[in-house]
Amino acid sequence: MILTALWLLPAIGGFACLAGRGRASRWLALAFSVVVFGYSVWLAGPYETGQGPWGLSEAGSAWIFGISYNLALDGLALSLVWLTAFLTVVCVIASWRSEFSRGYWSSFLFLEAALMGVFLSRDLFVFYVFWEAVLIPMFFIIGIWGSDGRRHAAMKFFLFTFFGSLFLLVGLLALVSWNHATRGVWTWDMGALAAPGGLAGLLVFAGIFVGFGVKIPLFPLHTWLPDAHTEAPAAGSVMLAGVMLKMGVFGFVRVLLPMFPELTWKLLPWIAGLACVNIIYGSLCAMWQSDLKRLIAYSSVAHLGFCVLGIFSGTPAGVAGGCLQLLNHGLTTGALFMMVGFLYERSHRRGLADFGDLVGRAPWLTFFFGWAVMASVGLPGLNGFVGEFMSLAGMAEALPVMACIGAVGIVLSVAYSLPAYQAVFWAASAEGSASAKVSDLDLREKALLWVLCLAMLYIGLAPGALLGLLEPTVATLVPPGCMP
């Protein structure tokens, strides 16, 4: 029950919010999300005393086809659980002023429940069910509370990622039935499945790779992302970029890498190449955007490329860096999307040309935005630097060429972030600019951003604590003697 509670609590909270009237559901959402966050932090204690590579696990009874409700929590999952619980609290507080209906609040709690389930499952079938369940609340969040193009964006988001997941499902089914055919046991346990070799192995690998790749998203499966991120409400974008993009990389680490170590090394140049395309292509696209939200969305494509680059490097530093970068991106991009949301709340604009000279009107917003931008471009001392540096260092050991291409992405990230920051906050405002409507942050918003920005600083200065948490996961992924 100790792990089940982690997804059951927010699910109950979701129903409670639906039942609540008026303002009550907002308070219920806050209460439940805070309790879940507190509970997830408390879990660190039992996790420390847990044994083996899975710090905590929970076994359920077997059902049919070897499916059983098994949960487990390792260091990576625990850190992502923290991120999810934390960002949910942030989202609830960030949308506090908006007059949203109870469905809004419950959607966020249902989303949190499904995400927790993804990170906790050890049984692949349970994993898949939670994986798909994530789509439903997000579909409603984008479609109901998004901006003008929300209908189209919600449908595109759902259909695109659902089709991707079908590849995943087919891959998993093939994997499980292959295991049944060769070893005579039905099992969906991530730890007990072996991978087929030859062409069959390649096909299963491809299916699962596409399924996870859509979520990351990897080029050329990324086209749903700019629309979904741009049209979603601010808190929805925070969850989309902050947590949901991590699901794909998490899937790689949890399912693909342990199961196909040799095939991964063989395909390494291709996958690393794809990650580099992501970095360069995402950065170039970001450079040409005139919409602030869309720019950040494309920057996510680039940042996730660094994660993939690190994780597939097969070196301890690279894998740890890639995993750490997941958390970093969640904090940094989450903060950026939230601030764009604050801007949009005040002015109903988000174009780069719509603003200017915000530094005079909203100095605090300028300060925090600058902080997050610096973290995003990888300024040493803030969190982004650690993750990107470790990813690239790992890749430099495996494939130096790819590491060099990736490093270009860091330069490009400065090239798209700083001009945008400059245009919105420092440049002189043009005729008819929306800057006049922008007031500075209030106490609630400042408090939220202080927490986020100090977290970025903490990871930047002392990444050791988190890296220690990720250590056991990294050790299982990089067995000695498995280097290319």
Binding site: W63, Y128, V129, I136, F139, R151, A154, L159, F163, L173
Partner: protein
């Protein structure tokens, strides 16, 4: 002079214990008709009688029918209740419950017709030979024709759909009788054993065509959309669940006669074609009831693929579980979706615009049902589709499964579009029609059941073990 029938012989040829559900329904039917003789009959009284008869019939199935000797091998005469027949009766009677609960006419005839139709399905399930199977089929269909004439949707032309339905049913019956004659000519019996030779095979093919007519599989599908569109939503729900389940059961009995016959081999293809055809046409519909009719066509196609897979694996009773599960989940999904039309009074797709803002609760229930119909985890519809496709893949039917899966994907298009109408669009009216209590309770039950079956299906697997044991 004809002497009395020896008691022992009667017991063998008529094992009454296995017919208790049917006898309950017959008693309910008589009670309805008797109530009709009273001068002022209230709708509520009839409703109570009908609903109780159906519930007691299901209850009897669970506990009473398992007396030893109730099941039997071939040659036990016209009545034979095996585990399959027992399990399917659950689908028949539970599928009729929403319609029975919704009938609010001050007249006993519709309820008597519903119970009569269910009685026919019960006989179909307990049929021990082909002749009894036919009697059950007719006994089920004749009341259904009358119901279509009687319970019409708003603005539907009188009798047109009923006549169309009747003619389609008459063609099916004649095909079946012709096939039965061939079968008898080749084998000299009405038993379920396959008849030898080309004449016997032709007989089986003709009888199979009759079953496909009843299911409305391509190319025998043309009557279905009109009939469903012209019926009241609750009746369409009944036809798409109970009657459809009975037709599938009928097809399974025929397929089991010769698991590797030409009929069984063409089933997956006919099913895939039906699923694709239904999905493609549903995409184009503006009328909601017609859309759901085409969607039910698509789901029936997937069921036919499942029957084909079942036949390809040798028609083992226990491995029919995926078909049963699909039927069970679809029972709740389809009945619930049609009931929503009754509750909301929406006729065309634009009528649903912004419905969630006006009536959040029915909209949320309908959205849950639509997600389940589309087969999205964690709903029951996902598990049902997964099991069925899985069985078909195990049977090596890759191309039919691909077709059916494509149909399921197309389904996303029209199911999600309805959610988009309800949730993402602005309402055109400020006020929605009020809805009745019984319909809301049933809608709740259907939506909760469809969603729960996906989350805690082990409730179901224990239930099924008990039923199929």
């Amino acid at each position: 002079m004809i002497g009395p029938i020896p008691a022992a012989e009667f017991a063998v040829s008529f094992p009454a214990a296995s017919l208790w559900p049917q006898l309950t329904l017959a008693a309910g039917l008589l009670a309805c008709l008797a109530a009709g003789m009273a001068r002022d009959i209230s709708a509520a009284a009839v409703r109570v009688v009908g609903v109780c008869a159906l519930i007691v019939a299901v209850w009897m199935l669970m506990f009473t029918a398992s007396v030893p000797g109730a099941g039997g091998g071939p040659g036990l005469g016209p009545v034979r209740l095996d585990s399959l027949g027992r399990a399917w009766q659950v689908l028949f009677y539970v599928g009729a419950l929403p319609l029975a609960a919704m009938l609010d006419e001050d007249d006993e005839v519709p309820m008597a017709l519903v119970l009569g139709s269910c009685l026919g399905m019960g006989l179909l399930a307990a049929a021990g030979d082909l002749l009894m199977l036919f009697i059950g089929l007719e006994c089920m269909s004749l009341p259904a024709y009358l119901l279509v004439a009687r319970l019409r949707s708003q603005g539907a032309p009188p009798y047109e759909a009923a006549v169309k339905y009747f003619f389609a049913g008459a063609v099916a019956s004649s095909l079946f009788l012709l096939g039965l004659a061939f079968h008898y000519a080749a084998s000299g019996s009405f038993g379920f054993a396959a008849a030898p030779g080309p004449v016997g095979q032709a007989g089986l093919a003709l009888m199979g065509a009759a079953a496909l007519f009843k299911i409305a599989a391509v190319p025998f599908h043309w009557w279905l959309p009109d009939v469903y569109e012209s019926s009241s939503p609750a009746l369409a729900g009944f036809m798409s669940t109970s009657i459809k389940a009975a037709a599938v059961f009928f097809l399974m009995r025929l397929a089991a006669m010769a698991p590797d016959s030409g009929l069984s081999r063409c089933l997956p293809w006919a099913g895939a074609a039906t699923a694709l055809y239904g999905a493609l046409l549903a995409l184009r519909q503006q009328g909601l009831q017609r859309l759901l009719a085409y969607s039910s066509l698509s789901h029936a196609g997937i069921l036919v693929v499942a029957v084909g897979a079942w036949a390809a694996q040798g028609c083992d009773g226990a491995s029919a579980a995926p078909i049963f599960f699909y039927g069970l989940v679809y029972l709740f999904m389809s009945n619930g979706a049609f009931l929503f039309l009754e509750v909301s009074g929406a006729g065309k797709r634009p009528d649903l615009d912004g419905y969630a803002k006006l009536c959040p609760v029915p909209a949320a229930l309908f959205a849950a049902l639509l997600l389940s119909l589309a087969g999205i985890p964690p709903t029951g519809g996902f598990l049902a589709k997964l099991f069925v496709f899985w069985e078909a893949v195990k049977a090596g039917l890759f191309f039919p499964v691909a077709g059916a899966a494509l149909a399921a994907l197309l389904g996303l298009g029209y199911y999600l579009a309805l959610i988009r109408n309800m949730y993402f669009d602005e309402p055109k009216w400020s006020k929605a029609e009020p809805h009745t209590g019984a319909a809301m309770v049933t809608l709740w039950a259907c939506a909760v059941a469809a969603a729960t079956l996906g989350v805690v299906p082990w409730l179901f697997s224990r239930f099924l073990e008990r039923l199929l044991s």
